[in-house]
Symmetry: C2
Subunit: 369 residues, 2 copies
């Protein structure tokens, strides 16, 4: 732990709305734009931290909701915090638990003070409030922590008005509750698919001098057009000199579109979840590696790909592993999929520096199916 | 592929019956005594080849029975053979399929020519004979291939007499069938727990000028005393200048006892199977890492252990992974368990060079529970 950490964001280049920069954390710098793989239960599924390092990952996410329920934030704190516990020594981010809790539907009850919900593990009742979410995240000890927000159905305007207003009141409580100087608290903009609400939320949230800002409540069922439109409404309002984080977004086309509209951070379970289901991500779309057409295919998933998987293994071998339900399939496909997204943000960053992001994005989207 | 490979065995040191040496193969040297992890379906479960290399593994096994049924030896050959297919570039060994086929019980039918059996995948009927087992193993392309043998119930003397005699006839057929000069065929001694049969079998099998000899049909339910006694009967008969391989044996105490009686090679699924069930192997016995007593335990599985798992992760973290059924648990425990056996054979080898193997073995067995 560093006693005087500075969560500064250096903006290094801009190309239209797209930006390249570096966000400094106590556990090292995060070059942006960046994609963060998700280690829900303090492990990026089927991967060792050494494999994540080899992939050039800089930021790793963990989920407060899951760790709060098991093994509990006190145990993680006792083991020296998340970095020590899971042995990821680079920058980390925890969400607030809000999104998962609100996804529980009938299993949770919201009031002005917080949310009461049922554990998915043993049915026991638990409660999170803005203060306790921050308390849990302080015990987990990630570099970046998130405000506790209310995630509404994106299509219900009346609900979004109420949820946004509550998210704003809760943000003030999170800011007051926060104590650790070595953690950066990001505020979250809500407002569903409604431009006026998003605008109001972006103005309110960015009125606080926070080290970073997130856009929540997207990639939850709305159209790509709505997602892009909401980013176009929000990012011009957010301060230029602070990073912007589009939460839960991780498909290649969404990354390209998000960066185009000024997003700096992304996270998603997509690359590892697809891997466990036998799908490989490429710059041209997904490949279902169980497909019979790969049975005799000696080529790597992507020719020229520099990941460990593509440097060594054939499509035929990966299909064989999937057919036999071998764990190595999930590991090799996770390596390839995370590499694909890290390579995508590296190329995007280079294009921003080169001032060619428009062409990069147009070309990428034209070839992605 | 090497056109003139030499499967020579250099005996470097002996201490009583225990031996240290090097067996040379086209894919590199195997220092002995050696423990080989098992990659049943052309993958050591939950491990990348890079992780196996880091562990200092030299020999890796694959199972002919499984690969014959899926993906089929022709596909593996088409992909350049097992080494290329699974990307293990060190020495490899395939078994003959005999043991697995005979374990099928009512699902297989034996005749003098071979065995007909039902696929565990789709119920289809298949057949292996001494000739076709060698043919399959030649297509798979391991450095060391095994004779097709009949594995009998170790306690049934009449059956063992018949099975041994057939194994001997089949060995002659395997030797005739074998064509590839870059593969070493090992003969297998059978005879159950009967000293007279084991003696007869050892004499017969070692009458052939083969590059190595195996003891089959042990570690299948007989007592440790019987296993040790059979080794004591067989190893003095086998030629000194050829490696001896105790098939399917992998518990630490069996390795120590085997080396003490002149065994050079071991293989077993034990370290990876135990790992998937949450058990850690140590020089003092097994630890069930799901045990509640490890919940708050910040220590590594074994203090001072130099494996990646113990150098980084706490017992508490490994228990957390197991509780959450995270795949990383199997990987981390497989790394530790294989390391434990590789470290055990390295220490045994050093003790043989030092002429202190008796003390090493006595001390080890006194502390192993």
């Amino acid at each position: 732990m560093c006693s005087e950490p500075s969560f500064t964001f250096e903006l290094q280049a801009a190309d239209g709305a797209a930006r390249a920069g570096v966000f400094h954390t106590p556990h090292g710098p995060i070059p942006t734009p960046i994609f963060a793989p998700v280690g829900t239960q303090a492990t990026v599924k089927a991967m060792t931290p050494a494999q994540l390092s080899e992939l050039g990952c800089s930021l790793v996410l963990a989920n407060t909701y899951h760790l709060f329920l098991r093994p509990g934030e006190d145990l993680v704190a006792e083991m020296g915090g998340l970095h020590e516990f899971m042995q990821w020594h680079g920058p980390m981010l925890t969400d607030s638990g809000g999104f998962q809790v609100f996804s529980l539907g009938p299993l949770r009850k919201i009031d002005e003070d917080g949310v009461t919900f049922k554990s998915y593990i043993d049915g026991s009742m638990h409660r999170l409030t803005p203060e306790s979410s921050i308390g849990v995240q302080e015990k987990l000890g990630a570099d970046i922590i998130m405000a506790f927000d209310e995630c509404a159905d994106p299509f219900d305007k009346a609900y979004n008005e109420r949820a946004m207003a509550r998210t704003h009141r809760w943000l003030e409580r999170c800011i007051k509750a926060k104590q650790r100087p070595d953690q950066a608290l990001f505020g979250i903009v809500q407002g569903g698919i409604f431009a006026d609400l998003r605008e109001e939320s972006a103005k309110f949230v960015s009125s606080f001098d926070l080290p970073g800002f997130a856009i929540g409540g997207l990639s939850v069922g709305e159209s790509k057009e709505d997602m892009n439109k909401m980013m176009e409404v929000v990012t011009p309002i957010l301060p230029q000199n602070k990073p912007r984080y589009l939460m839960g977004v991780g498909s290649p086309e969404d990354l390209v579109n998000g960066i185009w509209r000024g997003i700096d951070f992304f996270d998603c379970v997509l690359p590892t979840r697809l891997a466990r289901h036998g799908a490989a991500m490429t710059f041209n779309g997904r490949l279902n590696m169980v497909n019979q057409k790969y049975t005799h295919d000696p080529k790597p998933i992507v020719e020229g790909c520099t990941c460990y998987t593509c440097q060594h293994f054939s499509r035929a071998y990966i299909r064989h592993l999937l057919q036999n339900k071998e764990m190595l399939a999930a590991t090799l496909l996770s390596i390839h999929n995370i590499h694909t997204l890290e390579e995508l943000v590296r190329q995007a960053r280079a294009a921003i520096f080169a001032g060619t992001y428009d062409a990069f994005a147009e070309n990428f989207l034209a070839n992605y199916h």
